[in-house]
Point group: C2
Chain length 176, copies 2
């Protein structure tokens, strides 16, 4: 499995809370190990993700940084290939087979307009579609493709609830 | 190509504007023809999607309904198979090949907690992952799977801007 860390550029306190929380939960559900959020530490988000980890099992860790350049530099130093998701990039269909062979990938997703420097510093600029859509969607489709639908096989240890897939309603196992 | 309409359950004015807009843009970019939003008509959303259609080419149409039951009934009468996306459902990996053979699919996505009746009335309840994530993500992955990555081949006629995929920056054709 490719080790995957997400870098969320340009999170704005309050305004982006909900969308960034969706990004965190997608990153967690689809198998990233960490999300680094550029912006002031945000208790709302840390709390929401913490609560999900507690109930549904340990997944992603959340960090904040005030300096995306340093964060990116550190990731590169640690051997992460940098993949920036942008509708202006190359088609995911053409590149995903190469990316699956990598060991460590840092996925950069924007919120506000992303500076040119991120395009330049990324090893790959990859599009999930060439029409405006959503960074949440881009991240989900990218991870689904990268891990080839293996989100169902992942273990999230220590949770108190686990879903039993069901064609007609809700079913789960719950521990107290 | 499967004809696809999205039904967004439980949209709340203002509170859900941004997430619902992401849903609309995902539906548009990944090839759905229409999104029906349950809730009071919301000018913000209609305006945002209208502006994207104008600039990037004609894609999805947006409708509002105050009555999801009627909307679902109409869709069924028009021959749409109803697929509800929920983390409690059956694995998409096991069902997607069957669904690709259908002619018309109505995809139901929630916002607020979805009533049991939607589970019961849907032909399929499908999970994109069995962990909490995001309806935006679920919709994107489902449509990406349904259309097998064909979002890059779709035409959006009449726009003034078109992206030229680029590995290191932004490139596009623009008409004035």
């Amino acid at each position: 499995m490719v080790e995957t860390i997400i870098l969320r550029y340009g999170h704005r306190l309050v305004r982006d809370d909900r969308v960034t929380t969706h990004c965190c939960l997608v990153a967690r559900a689809f198998g990233a190990s960490k999300i680094i959020i550029e912006g002031a530490p945000d208790k709302e988000i840390a709390g929401s993700v913490g609560a999900v980890n507690l109930k549904w099992g340990t997944g992603i860790t959340v960090e904040f940084t005030q300096n995306w350049k340093n964060a990116l530099k550190e990731l590169k130093k640690d051997g992460f290939l940098v993949v920036h998701l942008t509708m202006y990039g190359e088609e995911v269909n053409r590149k995903i087979d190469d990316l699956r062979k990598k060991e460590k990938i840092a996925v950069v997703i924007g919120s506000q307009k992303v500076p040119c420097e991120i395009y330049a510093q990324s090893d790959y600029n990859i599009s999930i579609g060439n029409q405006p859509h959503s960074e949440i969607a881009a991240l989900a489709v990218f991870l689904d493709r990268l891990f080839d639908g293996k989100q169902f096989d992942r273990k999230f240890p220590g949770g108190t609830i686990e879903i039993i897939p069901n064609p007609k309603g809700k079913a789960f196992k719950e521990q107290n």
